[in-house]
């Protein structure tokens, strides 16, 4: 059962789905939902900037009393027809909200009629009451192998599908993805990331030919993995959380390249170049590192990635990590286990909590000097006289374009920003 949440950090399933769809190049979402759903799911928490194709101006059936009482399927039909006439897209995604799914409009049936006529359109059930942003993200991902990927023309040896990072929910998802792509490209690996750098329907179609999936989440997209395996015989390599800093990134590079049988000479060369690059810069700050006991609050991938970097590469002391995703109990052990590679004795406690008040109580009990968290944590940092650093949603009043903390280079950006926050 979903608990009550004070000041949530995530949108609903519909919000998660629209973030994902809007990040696919030339994909067009169509809402069959209440009149406010477009604005509610495209502003505020989890939406730092609308840089996408439709910029938040999304077609919607805007279900008022008439549609609730008499059914809204005709209204949806008009909305789809209008969208196809006015808006130019490569794929159209009909997303149903709470109202539509409660009253039971057969959106799936209607959309299938269009699809049968050869129109590139799919339906995804994304009622808000089904869960948080991650839930919506997963339902979009599931559609890729199920409905959108091509039949598969054969394995492309050095092509991978990259998923597990949630667009918009992870604050720096776009920049984070770009650095990972940069490193993989350097190793001769082509990446279908679907959601950034103008990637889109072409990459989704081609995903059936990949040699490997890379899933950066310890708990998301398990259904997607299964579908790729059963339909296209593609295995998945897991790296739990964002690879940030030389230690984690090198482990990531080794893991991926082993699976793909990449020439180990090339791998060694790339690792040495990249590590040389960052450690060259690190040499300038040997005397400047301040060591702090820290707590970190945010989505699974960001918390895992930044904690690893701070501990394994940057000599900070991990005290508490609060995961704010709606993680099912059955998945918590795999996230806990992901912290096992922390070096040096750490007394890290891991919590799963979404409620702002409860998170505050957790933080009050810790012996900490800095809080890495959302903008919400600024208030408690102020109360506890600790430093505050914004790494997770919500990030109030910020524009985030391609900033990223992943990989080798991202760690430099993180160090710069942390120093400034101090």
């Amino acid at each position: 059962m979903a608990h009550i949440i004070q000041n949530p950090r995530s949108s609903c399933a519909l919000g998660g789905a629209v973030s994902a769809v809007s990040s696919i190049y030339r994909a067009v979402p169509i809402y069959h939902a209440g009149p406010g759903c477009v604005v509610q799911t495209n502003t505020g928490v989890g939406k730092t900037i609308n840089s996408n194709y439709l910029a938040g101006s999304i077609p919607s059936s805007n279900m008022y009393e008439r549609e609730i009482v008499f059914g809204g399927i005709n209204r949806l039909k008009e909305t789809i027809d209008g969208t196809l006439e006015v808006i130019d897209g490569d794929e159209y995604f009909v997303l149903t909200g709470c109202s539509a799914d409660i009253i039971g409009d057969d959106a799936a049936g209607l959309v299938e009629e269009y699809r049968n006529k050869g129109i590139p359109i799919v339906h995804i059930e994304t009622a808000g009451f089904k869960g948080d942003t991650t839930k919506g993200y997963e339902s979009v991902l599931n559609i890729f192998p199920e409905k959108l990927a091509s039949e598969g023309t054969g394995i492309e040896e050095n092509t991978v599908n990259l998923f597990g990072t949630v667009p918009a929910q992870e604050l720096f998802w776009s920049g984070n993805t770009e650095e990972i792509i940069r490193i993989l490209n350097k190793l001769g690996i082509k990446v279908n990331s679907f959601f950034s750098q103008f990637q889109g329907v072409k990459e989704i179609k081609n995903s059936s030919n990949a040699a490997l999936n890379i899933n950066l989440s310890p708990w998301l997209c398990k259904e997607t993995e299964k579908s790729y395996k059963s339909k296209f015989n593609i295995d998945t390599y897991h790296f739990n959380g964002l690879p940030i800093g030389p230690t984690a990134t090198t482990a990531f590079v080794k893991g991926v390249t082993e699976k793909l049988n990449i020439d180990c000479k090339l791998v060694t060369k790339v690792i040495s170049e990249e590590e040389g690059y960052v450690y060259g810069y690190y040499s300038g700050i040997y005397g400047y590192i301040r060591k702090y006991r820290f707590a970190i609050v945010g989505d699974t991938n960001t918390v895992l990635g930044i904690t690893r970097f701070l501990v394994n590469d940057y000599s900070q002391i991990a005290v508490a990590a609060v995961i704010t995703d709606e993680v099912p109990d059955t998945e918590k052990s795999s996230i806990d286990a992901s912290f096992n590679d922390l070096e040096y004795p750490q007394s890290l406690k891991v919590f799963y909590e979404q409620d702002l008040w409860k998170i505050k109580q957790i933080l009050k009990e810790q012996d900490i000097q800095i809080i890495f968290g959302s903008h919400f944590e600024r208030e408690i940092a102020d109360e506890l006289h600790t430093i505050h650093f914004n790494i997770s949603n919500p990030a109030l009043g910020r524009i985030i374009l391609n900033k990223g903390y992943t990989g080798y280079r991202g760690s430099l950006s993180l160090i710069e920003d942390i120093y400034y926050a101090y």
């Binding site: 009550i4 030339r26 495209n42 609730i68 409660i102 009622a127 109030l396």
Partner: protein
């Protein structure tokens, strides 16, 4: 217990939600009462009244909020919380607080079995955590469709909690005009907080009603203006508290920051407490600020003082406006904003010698009837007049044809056309009063003087519409409600 039913604003007399035509046609037909309300067979997502209800109250410092909805229905609150932070910062608050909003997080189980128990739990929890003076409970489409009896839950819980628990019925599907959410909030204040409370009159106190979109900078300017008339302001409900709300009946007069906010509530204050009120316009631009101030002065018997003050302010700012006018003169402009702000912003045209070629406002209603005629008198009878909200594709279509030098409004897709844009809906920077007009002037000059970013970006911009769309009538999906 019977629920408070808020009459949707769209059911009022003379409401027009959608229409577009030459200004002369709109003006003539609206005056005659024969301007048809149109609907669309295809439209973009809009906004729901729940947002307005929350926006109206979120900044009350001793309030907490329980929102009876699934996760997504507080997306907007994240945005309003940002503004709340900025507001506190600008007001000099040292320890900035988050707004306190607790979501019942309706899930699939609640949809099937009802969410009343969870709502009750959330209320108890809110009291336990914060002991707020008031807890506002907001409903959603989902809580409405599944039929949770929110009033009954509130009535029961009220026996257990000290805070005044106030249900606000603002289900999104119930109104096409989000401003109805303001009414729902004021109705709740009326029945649950004021409920016959009769404080003593306080000399010189005036109620000033303003929504969240009016930022602290504007609040400061408005206070400054009214202090010159010897008035002190009870600024509600934005950045107020229960005490200030309870103090509403002790004022000698009421005014609103615009024609369409708290209008019904001020009427009620008149009939219930005999507090006179004035409805003029939004104090944006010189003419409007003058008119707005005069309206209040008349109400409180300061007619002579106000003329003196206006003259003094004109002396101060008109030369500065003249400097800006020299730069902006003759530029062809489209103004796009909410109802009151749209009309008010059109008055900037006069201050800065701009040429109004298009105006988009959210809706027409009785409160702005005079303004419609007035605009045509001042700016001519053939500017393009669009009554709509959020229909980006229609706007891009006509803006591309009209080719303005400057677009005053918020529309990313219009900016992609390479047209410099600036906006007057600015809860962070000043917009109102005499100082506000100078600030806006600078913003417009900045937009015109160096449009390099948008001109260059437009060469790379991708608009999402089919090429054929631009050759079509932007209103091809309009139809007359109920047929001709």
């Amino acid at each position: 217990m019977s629920s408070i039913v808020t009459v949707s604003r769209e059911d009022r007399e003379k409401i027009v939600l959608n229409h577009a035509d030459k200004s002369s046609e709109i003006s003539k037909k609206y005056k005659q009462g024969c301007l048809k309300n149109l609907s669309r067979s295809f439209e973009l997502g809009v906004q729901c009244q729940e947002m307005n209800a929350i926006a109206c109250l979120l900044t009350m410092s001793d309030a907490a909020f329980v929102i009876h909805s699934p996760l997504g229905c507080v997306g907007c609150v994240g945005m309003f919380n940002t503004l709340y932070h900025v507001g506190q910062f600008q007001a000099g608050v040292k320890h900035i607080k988050n707004a306190k909003y607790i979501l019942t997080n309706i899930d699939e189980n609640d949809v099937i079995n009802g969410g009343e128990k969870k709502l009750a739990d959330a209320l108890i929890e809110t009291e336990k955590r914060y002991s707020p003076n008031v807890i506002f409970v907001l409903t959603s489409c989902t809580s409405g469709i599944i039929g949770d009896d929110v009033d009954a839950v509130v009535e029961n819980i009220q026996k257990e909690v000290k805070a005044t628990v106030v249900p606000i019925h603002c289900e999104g599907f119930k109104s096409k005009l989000p401003a109805t959410g303001f009414e729902a909030a004021f109705n709740a204040i009326k029945h649950y907080i004021l409920k016959g409370h009769r404080p003593i009159r306080e000399e010189g106190l005036i109620n000033l009603f303003a929504p969240t979109s009016v930022g602290i900078q504007d609040q400061k300017e408005i206070k400054r203006l009214l202090e010159h008339l010897g008035l002190h302001v009870n600024y509600v409900p934005f950045y107020s508290n229960v005490e200030k709300i309870k103090n509403i009946p002790s004022a000698i007069a009421s005014a609103s920051i615009c024609e369409v906010f708290a209008d019904e509530f001020m009427q009620w204050l008149k009939s219930e407490y005999d507090i006179p009120y004035t409805i003029t316009c939004m104090p944006l631009g010189v003419r409007n600020t003058d008119q707005w101030l005069r309206g209040i002065a008349k109400l409180v018997g300061k007619v002579e003082q106000v003329e003196e003050y206006i003259e003094q302010e004109h002396k101060r700012i008109l030369p500065k406006i003249e400097e800006v006018r020299n730069i902006l003169k003759g530029k062809r402009v489209i103004v796009s904003a909410g109802t009151a702000r749209g009309f008010a912003a059109a008055a900037l045209i006069e201050d800065y010698g701009l040429e109004l070629i298009g105006l988009r406002v959210r809706n027409l209603e009785e409160a702005v009837e005079e303004r419609v005629g007035e605009l045509v008198d001042i700016y001519g009878d053939d500017f393009f007049f669009d009554i709509s909200f959020g229909q980006t594709h229609e706007q891009v279509n006509y803006v591309k044809k009209l080719k303005p030098d400057l677009f005053i409004g918020n529309n990313v897709q219009v900016a992609k056309l390479g047209i410099p844009t600036e906006h007057v809906l600015d809860p962070i920077r000043p917009t109102m009063g005499y100082d506000g007009i100078l600030y806006i002037g600078k913003k417009l000059v900045n937009a015109i003087q160096n449009p390099g970013f948008i001109k260059k970006a437009a060469q790379h911009a991708e608009l999402p519409y089919h090429k054929g769309w631009y050759n079509q009538n932007p209103y091809k999906y309009h139809s007359v409600i109920g047929g001709e």
